[in-house]
C-alpha cells in the first residue's frame, strides 16, 4: 500500500490580506498525494496551481488550513524548519528555470549542497553524474545564460536532483520548450518517476497532462479544485514509453 506524502486540508492562501489589492489565490484546497505518484495540477493562468505548488513545497505559508508533508504539519513551522524540509524533501523545477545568472552550469547544480558539510569534490562528482545522466555534462563550464531553453531546463532539473529529493515539483516545465525538448523533458520526468520519485507538475500544457505516466490530474480554476473527484489515470496503460 502506498503512503501519503502530501496532504492539504482546507488550504487557503490570500495575498495582501486586508489591503485594497487583496487576492485570494487558492481557497479551501484539500488533496492527498501518494508516494510515487505523478500528479498534474491543471488549469489556466491565474487558477492558483503555482500558488498551490509553492504551498506544498514550503515556499510560502497558507493563510488558513494545514499542509502535511510526510506526516508533519508544516504550515506553522518556523522558517528554519521549512528550509530543512525544502532542502531534504523537495526538488524544484521552475517555469523560468530560476538559475543564478553569471554562474556556470556545474556551480548552479551544486548550489543546493553548498550550505552542507559535504566536501566540495563529492558535490562536484555528484553534479557531474547528474549532468551526464541528463546529457548536459559537456556544457558544465558554460554560463547558464548562454544555454538554450532546453539546456537551461535540464540544468534546473539537475539542480533539483542534486539533493536526492523524494518529491519533484515542476511549475510549467514545458512553457519555454518546443515539442522536441518537451518530449525530452517528459522522458526525464518519467525516468525519475520510475526511480520512485513523487512528481507534482503544475501545467496547462496538454502535451504534459495527456501523457500516460501521469497518474492523476487535479483541475483547478479560480483558486479552487474544479473536479471534486480528481481524475485517476491508470499507469501504465495507454502508452508505451521508449526509455
Amino acid at each position: 500500500m502506498m503512503s501519503i506524502v502530501i496532504k492539504t486540508e482546507n488550504v487557503t492562501k490570500v495575498f495582501n490580506p486586508n489591503l485594497p489589492n487583496e487576492v485570494k489565490a487558492v481557497t479551501d484546497i484539500s488533496i492527498e498525494i501518494e508516494n510515487g505518484e505523478v500528479v498534474v495540477l491543471k488549469g489556466p493562468s491565474g487558477s492558483g496551481k503555482t500558488t498551490l505548488l509553492s504551498l506544498i513545497g514550503c515556499m510560502s505559508r497558507p493563510t488558513e488550513g494545514s499542509i502535511i508533508v510526510n506526516g508533519k504539519d508544516v504550515a506553522r513551522l518556523p522558517e528554519r524548519f521549512l528550509t530543512k524540509i525544502r532542502q531534504k524533501t523537495f526538488g524544484f523545477v521552475f517555469q523560468m528555470f530560476n538559475l543564478i545568472k553569471g554562474v556556470n552550469v556545474i556551480e548552479n547544480v551544486m548550489l543546493p549542497l553548498y550550505p552542507t558539510d559535504a566536501k566540495l569534490f563529492v558535490i562536484k562528482k555528484r553534479a557531474e553524474a547528474i549532468l551526464d545522466k541528463l546529457d548536459i555534462l559537456k556544457k558544465r563550464d558554460f554560463k547558464t545564460q548562454s544555454l538554450s531553453a532546453g539546456e537551461q531546463q535540464r540544468v534546473a532539473i539537475a539542480r533539483a536532483l542534486i539533493n536526492e529529493p523524494e518529491i519533484i515539483l515542476a511549475d510549467e516545465p514545458t512553457a519555454h520548450l518546443d515539442t522536441k525538448l518537451s518530449e525530452d523533458l517528459i522522458k526525464i520526468l518519467r525516468g525519475l518517476n520510475e526511480d520512485r520519485k513523487t512528481i507534482i507538475i503544475a501545467t496547462h500544457d496538454p502535451f504534459v497532462y495527456e501523457k500516460a505516466f501521469v497518474h492523476r490530474i487535479i483541475e483547478m480554476r479560480d483558486g479552487v479544485i474544479k473536479n471534486p473527484t480528481p481524475q485517476i489515470i491508470p499507469y501504465p496503460e495507454n502508452e508505451v514509453w521508449d526509455k
Binding site: F92, F94, E107, P112, T116
Partner: protein, 385 residues
C-alpha cells in the same frame, strides 16, 4: 567548516559576477578611506613630530618682551635667574629666521651649542670654526649643496657671506633640523647684527620638572619684562592646534563622508531585482536565512576590507611618500615650513581601528540588513517580485 568554506567561495564568485558594480563601490569607498586616513595619519604624524621635537627641548624658555613683541634678552638676566631655587643650567640661545629669496624658503639660523640635544648629523661634523656651517637635509636639497661645498647667505648688512658646509643633519622628516643652518655663535651674532651682550632667548633647565611652573612664576616676578614659556604649554598648544586643524579638515570631509554613507546605505538597502531573485532562489533550493546572511557578510566584508586596505595604503603613500599634498596646506597652516619635508611614518593603531569601525562595520551592516529582510520573506514572494 566545509560549509563556511563553500559559502565564502561562493561569496567571492558573487562579487566577481558583479565586478563592475563592486569595483565602482571599492573605488569610491577606497577614496573616502584614503581621505579620512590621510587626515588622521597627517595629524598624528605632525603631533608626533612636534612632540619628539619638544621632548628634546628645554623645560623652560625665557624670552624678553618689549612692547608686547619678542625682543633680544640681555645675557646678564642669567645671573638673576640662577638665584631661583630649582633652576639648573641656564644657557643663552642665538637664533633667527632667514628668508631666502633664491629658494623662496624660510630657514632657521642658529648659533652652535655644543650641548644641543636631539641633533644628529648624517654626515660630517658640527661647525667649530667661523665660516663653517651644518645644514638640514631640506636646505641641502633646496640649495643643491652638501659637505665640502658652500652656502651663500645675505647678512643684516646686505653682505653676501659664504659658509663652508661641514655637516648635514639626519632625518629628512625632522621638523627641527630640516630647515636648519647651524653657524658658530660669533657668526650668528655678526650675521644678524646682534649685540654680544644679548641673546635671542634663554633656556632654563629645571631639576624637577614638576617645579617648572614655580620657577616660571618666579622668573616673571623677578624679571617682569620676560615671558617664560614652559614645554608643557608648547606641547598643549601644538596638540590643540593640530587637533583643531584636523577637526576643520574632518568637518570639511564630513559632508563627503555622509554623502557616501547615504549612497552606500541606499545602494545596499535597495537590493536590485536580480539580487532579490538570487536570494529567493537560494532560499527555495534549501539555503537557510543564516546561510544567506553569512554569504552577504562575506561579500560585504570582502568589499569593505579591500577598500579599507586600499584606502589605508593609498593614505600611507599620500602622507608619507607624497608629503600629503592634498591636506598639507590646511594642516600645516601658518607654520609655513620651507623647504618641504617628508613626514615620518607614525601610525596610531587606535586611529586605524577607528577608521575600520567607521567604515567597514557600517558597510557590512548596510549590506546584511536588507538581505536579512529579503531572506526572512517567503521565497515564493521574493521570486514573484
Amino acid at each position: 567548516m566545509e560549509k563556511h568554506k563553500k559559502i565564502l567561495e561562493y561569496a567571492i564568485s558573487s562579487i566577481l559576477r558583479r565586478k563592475y558594480k563592486n569595483l565602482a563601490i571599492i573605488i569610491v569607498f577606497s577614496f573616502m578611506i584614503t581621505i579620512l586616513a590621510s587626515i588622521l595619519f597627517l595629524t598624528h604624524s605632525l603631533k608626533m613630530e612636534s612632540l619628539n621635537l619638544l621632548l628634546g627641548s628645554p623645560q623652560l624658555i625665557v624670552q624678553r618682551v618689549s612692547g608686547g613683541r619678542h625682543d633680544l634678552i640681555p645675557i646678564n638676566y642669567i645671573k638673576r635667574i640662577q638665584g631661583i631655587y630649582g633652576a639648573g643650567k641656564i644657557t643663552p640661545r642665538y637664533w633667527g629666521y632667514y628668508y631666502d629669496s633664491a629658494t623662496d624658503g624660510n630657514y632657521t639660523l642658529m648659533g652652535v651649542d655644543k650641548d644641543m640635544q636631539g641633533l644628529r648629523l648624517l654626515n660630517g661634523e658640527m661647525p667649530s670654526k667661523n665660516g663653517e656651517c651644518a645644514i638640514g637635509k631640506g636646505v641641502s636639497s633646496a640649495r643643491f649643496t652638501g659637505i665640502g661645498e658652500k652656502v651663500y647667505l645675505i647678512d643684516s648688512k646686505e653682505k653676501v657671506l659664504a659658509f663652508n658646509v661641514v655637516g648635514v643633519f639626519t632625518s629628512i622628516s625632522n621638523i627641527l633640523t630640516n630647515d636648519l643652518i647651524l653657524l658658530t655663535k660669533e657668526d650668528i651674532l655678526g650675521f644678524f647684527g646682534m649685540p654680544s651682550d644679548k641673546a635671542t632667548d634663554i633656556v632654563v633647565e629645571v631639576y624637577n620638572e614638576f617645579e617648572t611652573p614655580f620657577v616660571a612664576s618666579k622668573i616673571k616676578e623677578i624679571l617682569p619684562d620676560t615671558r617664560p614659556i614652559m614645554k608643557s604649554e608648547i606641547i598643549r598648544t601644538y596638540d590643540a592646534l593640530f587637533s583643531w586643524r584636523s577637526g576643520i579638515a574632518l568637518i570639511m570631509f564630513l559632508g563627503a563622508l555622509i554623502s557616501f554613507l547615504i549612497l552606500a546605505w541606499d545602494k545596499a538597502t535597495g537590493l536590485s531585482a536580480d539580487e532579490k531573485q538570487d536570494i529567493g532562489i537560494l532560499k527555495a533550493i534549501g539555503w537557510e536565512t543564516s546561510d544567506i546572511l553569512e554569504l552577504k557578510f562575506w561579500e560585504g566584508l570582502a568589499i569593505s576590507l579591500t577598500s579599507f586596505l586600499t584606502g589605508l595604503i593609498l593614505a600611507y603613500v599620500h602622507v608619507f611618500f607624497l608629503g600629503a599634498w592634498l591636506f598639507a596646506p590646511v594642516l600645516k597652516g601658518w607654520s609655513v615650513i620651507f623647504p618641504s619635508f617628508r613626514f615620518f611614518p607614525y601610525i596610531n593603531l587606535y586611529q586605524v581601528f577607528a577608521v575600520l569601525f567607521l567604515t567597514v562595520i557600517p558597510y557590512v551592516a548596510s549590506t546584511i540588513i536588507p538581505s536579512w529582510k529579503t531572506a526572512i520573506t517567503d521565497p515564493d514572494t521574493v521570486m514573484r517580485g
